[in-house]
């Protein structure tokens, strides 16, 4: 995947597809600006799974410092985090 040309919308569509399949939920279950944990979509292990997904699909490892609510607090925040990070690596 050429991560330099990917748009935020493409990142979001791919992330939502991953979440729906990996955590077997419907798209309608996911509230884009709410915490995936607070809304019961994932548990704490789900955060590890999303980190692995990012590494596999966007080629960077999420550091201990990056794993926080600011970056992982909702789908929109995760998308922003991926988008920002791939533009700086």
């Amino acid at each position: 995947m050429n991560t330099l040309t990917i748009t935020k919308n493409e990142i979001q569509v791919a992330l939502l597809d991953f979440l729906c399949r990996q955590f077997y939920v419907d798209l309608d279950d996911i509230i884009l600006d709410k915490s995936l944990i607070d809304t019961g979509i994932i548990d704490s292990m789900g955060l590890i799974e999303i980190s692995s997904y990012i590494k596999k699909n966007y080629g960077f490892t999420v550091t201990k410092e990056q794993m926080n609510r600011q970056n992982f607090g909702s789908v929109l925040k995760i998308v922003d985090f991926i988008d920002t990070t791939i533009k700086t690596i």
Binding site: G40, D43, M45, G46, S52
Partner: protein
């Protein structure tokens, strides 16, 4: 409401039942998990990549620690094989650790003694207060403590127990500056993309907080002792250890695992259910899970093994149905739980 496992409609290829979340069957009776519509499965290439990365982590490990790895050792077949892999295949200096939850089969205890002696390794058994463990199991059984998402692949009581195992192993690793924590989970038991990962206690603690708050409201401050880590210990280490599930890197059937561990003196216990090789509370845990959700917590794991050709459907069904009533009744009496408690928890 409790479901008779023999009567539920199941996928004709795996053993997922009609009560499993989000399941649908096609016209041939095959489920959407088998048809690859849900759940990312781990491709062989992904396992190969993880294998290379895990081997690199082992090669690059610091030489200054007394131990390379803490191995969470239940005495069951999978963690016994994991221990063997760690010592013999990966040549790691290991400290094996068993959580005595009060319900470990006496045969499993003998297995632990024989195996750690045969492998010539250091070993620690940690036994939390039996009263606390019983209270924890009771609350986990009759209250809704955990995220239902977590409970698609594990029973509430197993999750409580494994949480103590994980926290205790992390404490030991931080205290002794050990870079790796190994466990005997198989793919299917754990999410497919968590073969290895670096711990991040603070962030995960934040997401665990609602669960810990519920437990503390019922069980008091002992919860902190067994399920939390103090700031002073967290600050002691600059790097958190990696959790690695070595068994996920092996393409091996259950029978082959047993064949490999028999020479260590391991014997299959007869006083456990078909899904466990060490724990006498497991049949009860499965019973409670069935009561709450209408399916077995082992369906996802066993179905994964079937799809990977590591277990036949008949073998999986046989394990699922082997749930001795006397073991269920024994634990019910120990925890003072009756059918009324379980009905009210639904």
């Amino acid at each position: 409401m409790y479901q008779d496992l023999h009567l539920i409609k199941r996928c004709k290829k795996c053993i997922l039942s009609a009560n499993f979340p989000r399941i649908k069957f096609d016209e041939n009776g095959i489920c959407n998990f088998c048809n690859n519509e849900l759940l990312y499965t781990t491709e062989n290439s992904e396992i190969e990549t993880s294998r290379g990365e895990v081997e690199k982590l082992f090669q690059d490990k610091s030489k200054k620690s007394e131990y390379d790895a803490i191995v969470c050792y239940s005495g069951g077949k999978d963690s016994t094989y994991t221990l063997k892999l760690a010592v013999e295949k990966y040549k790691l200096k290991v400290l094996s650790f068993t959580l005595d939850n009060g319900f470990i089969s006496p045969v499993a205890f003998k297995n632990i003694e024989k195996v750690v002696s045969a492998l010539g390794i250091d070993h620690i058994t940690y036994r939390p207060s039996y009263q606390f463990m019983k209270s924890l199991y009771r609350i986990s059984s009759i209250e809704n403590i955990y995220n239902p998402k977590t409970l698609t692949r594990i029973s509430a009581n197993c999750n409580s127990c494994i949480s103590i195992v994980n926290i205790t192993a992390l404490k030991m690793a931080l205290e002794k500056d050990v870079p790796f924590i190994l466990a005997g989970f198989t793919l299917g038991q754990i999410p497919s993309n968590t073969i290895y990962y670096q711990n991040n206690y603070e962030f995960l603690e934040e997401s665990r907080k609602p669960i810990l708050d519920k437990l503390k409201s019922q069980l008091g401050n002992d919860v902190s002792k067994y399920l939390e880590i103090t700031d002073s210990l967290l600050k002691k280490s600059e790097n958190y250890p990696y959790n690695i599930n070595l068994l996920c890197l092996e393409d091996i059937t259950e029978n082959e695992i047993i064949e490999k561990i028999l020479p260590l003196g391991w014997v299959k216990p007869a006083d456990v259910d078909g899904c466990s090789t060490n724990c006498k509370i497991n049949a009860f845990n499965n019973y409670v899970h069935n009561y709450k959700f209408g399916y077995s917590p082992y369906e996802l794991e066993l179905s994964h093994l079937i799809r990977k050709n590591l277990l036949t459907r008949e073998e999986a069904i046989s394990k699922l149905f082997d749930q001795p009533q006397d073991q269920i009744d024994f634990v019910k009496a120990e925890l003072r739980i009756d059918e009324k408690d379980l009905k009210m928890s639904n």
